[in-house]
């Protein structure tokens, strides 16, 4: 299987999935899940204290995945570290052999489990992307020469179903201008809206991987609609999950995900499958999607 960057540049339909580091030092389950995905995905994202919940670091887990034979996408947020720490971590990532970095602002502290913490946000996603480009060109943010430049492939995120979408699209264009080579989108459920976004994004030289979020029940879909910005699960999918019944809901969700991947195949450059703890189901979803 080609590495992530090569596959994107070759124009292949690229598959990525993601895994969240554990809260603690036991990585046996994470490794077990990752093992199922070897040879099935081009790259595996490692989330960075996602939802502002403290966990093992994305840098160390990226290295663990790299050693297993995966091509990790190291997620890096600006919430918990200032520009010194970020640059230091980017150098570390390169030294460890990590090639891909997903540049994120990060969720608010207030949604997480350490609400009393000081939020950093010394930089934000656009500035972080620009910084990766600067370091790839052998300089640090202060203009000093690096003894050995980084060689990182930088990506970003976008929410095509944001409402209103215009400010989001303007930020998307900024991200491309400062060096985002690929985008992984928030979960897509409205294909027509996504097609409109793709028409817009095709004006820019960047690759788009559509987000697929595995639905495991009607309750989960309702929760997403009520709580997660930029996600709108349509009623007909909720009805479909409900009709499947409790026992078969997950199976039904896997069918939905597989169907979405099939539909998206001719539209964008790849898909990013978020199974949130059910990474072991991803190979089966891909099989049902005919990949």
């Amino acid at each position: 299987m080609k590495r992530f960057k090569e596959a994107l540049e070759a124009g292949d339909f690229v598959i990525t999935a993601e895994c969240g580091p554990p809260k603690g030092t036991d990585i046996s389950e994470l490794k077990e899940h990752a093992k199922h995905l070897l040879g099935k995905v081009h790259a595996l994202n490692v989330t960075d204290n996602q939802s502002s919940v403290m966990r093992a670091g994305s840098l160390s887990i990226s290295k663990v995945l790299l050693d297993m034979g995966h091509d990790p996408i190291y997620q890096l947020t600006c919430r918990d570290r200032n520009r010194l720490a970020i640059q230091s971590d980017l150098l570390s990532a390169h030294i460890l052999g990590i090639k891909n970095v997903l540049c994120l602002t990060g969720d608010s502290i207030s949604v997480g489990d350490h609400k009393e913490a000081k939020a950093v946000f010394d930089l934000e996603s656009v500035q972080l992307l620009k910084l990766v480009d600067t370091m790839n060109n052998g300089k640090d943010m202060a203009g000093n020469d690096l003894k050995g430049a980084t060689g990182l492939f930088a990506g970003a995120v976008v929410t095509p179903e944001a409402n209103p979408v215009e400010p989001q699209l303007m930020k998307f264009s900024k991200k491309v201008r400062v060096g985002a080579k690929f985008f992984q989108t928030q979960a897509i459920y409205d294909i027509e809206k996504f097609k409109t976004f793709m028409e817009y994004s095709r004006r820019f030289d960047t690759k788009i991987l559509a987000g697929i979020l595995l639905l495991r029940s009607a309750g989960m879909a309702n929760f997403l609609n009520a709580n997660v910005p930029g996600i709108t699960v349509p009623q007909h999918l909720i009805d479909e999950l409900k009709a499947a019944g409790k026992e078969k809901a997950l199976d039904c969700g896997m069918d939905i995900a597989a169907r979405q991947i099939k539909e998206l195949k001719g539209i964008c450059d790849g898909v990013h499958v978020m199974a949130i703890g059910l990474e072991d189901k991803v190979p089966e979803i891909l099989k049902r999607a005919g990949i």
Binding site: T105, E124, P164
Partner: protein
């Protein structure tokens, strides 16, 4: 103005656990407007202190306790009630507490309020933060809406993915600063401002601690006694 909130009386009582005689200072500027340190609040505080068994030697509303020298002169004029007090409770922002604390190093000078932010008045008792004195104003580029202050993350390049139907990730009651900026710039026909890539903020513009020596007043630069930092 500086928005303040009075501390719970239980906390104040605990601060004064070793003191018998207390003098109260209010603030004629922000704390009066906030209704945390005006004449009414001084009277209420005096009553609560008496009920708690303290002797209140006196109290007054200083013109602006953040003015170090001016307040020192005003306090001296108060005479015996200040001299005999072993504690001074200051109903103002922390700046006022700071100036009085350095004038009376031998007394227990305590804060009666918590300082919240530099606020705009919506109506009495209701305030919003629109500026956080960051040291480098960018309001021309953002239609007069400050993203450093009113975006929960202080983002400079547009909304984050947490924006939901025009609202902020942290609360559905808070408008997304960048959606507001977008709409304001749209009205002004200045949407091109949204395309600008803002560099990382220069945090050295906001010195900590803040120090400013205005050129205009160079002749007065010799800092008066008691004006130490």
């Amino acid at each position: 103005m500086i928005i303040t909130k009075q501390k719970p009386f239980e906390v104040i009582k605990e601060y004064l656990r070793d003191n018998k005689k207390v003098f109260i200072v209010g603030c004629g500027e922000c704390a009066t407007l906030c209704k945390t340190g005006g004449p009414d609040e001084i009277a209420e505080m005096a009553q609560m202190l008496r009920d708690a068994g303290k002797e209140v030697t006196g109290g007054f509303v200083a013109i602006a306790p953040c003015n170090i020298v001016g307040t020192k002169i005003e306090m001296k004029k108060q005479g015996e009630p200040v001299r005999e007090a072993d504690a001074v409770i200051v109903l103002s922002c922390g700046a006022g507490v700071g100036s009085i604390a350095e004038t009376y190093e031998d007394k227990n000078v305590i804060p009666g309020c918590d300082s919240l932010f530099l606020g705009n008045t919506i109506r009495v008792g209701s305030y919003d933060e629109r500026c956080m004195t960051c040291g480098e104003c960018i309001l021309e580029e953002t239609g007069g809406i400050c993203p450093v202050t009113t975006c929960a993350k202080g983002l400079l390049n547009g909304p984050c993915g947490g924006m939901n139907n025009g609202k902020c990730e942290i609360s559905p009651d808070i408008e997304c600063a960048w959606v507001r900026i977008y709409r304001r710039l749209e009205k002004k026909g200045k949407l091109d401002r949204m395309e600008k890539i803002h560099e990382a903020k220069d945090y050295s513009k906001h010195t900590k601690p803040g120090v400013f020596e205005g050129e205009k007043y160079a002749k007065m630069r010799k800092r008066p006694e008691g004006g130490k930092r």
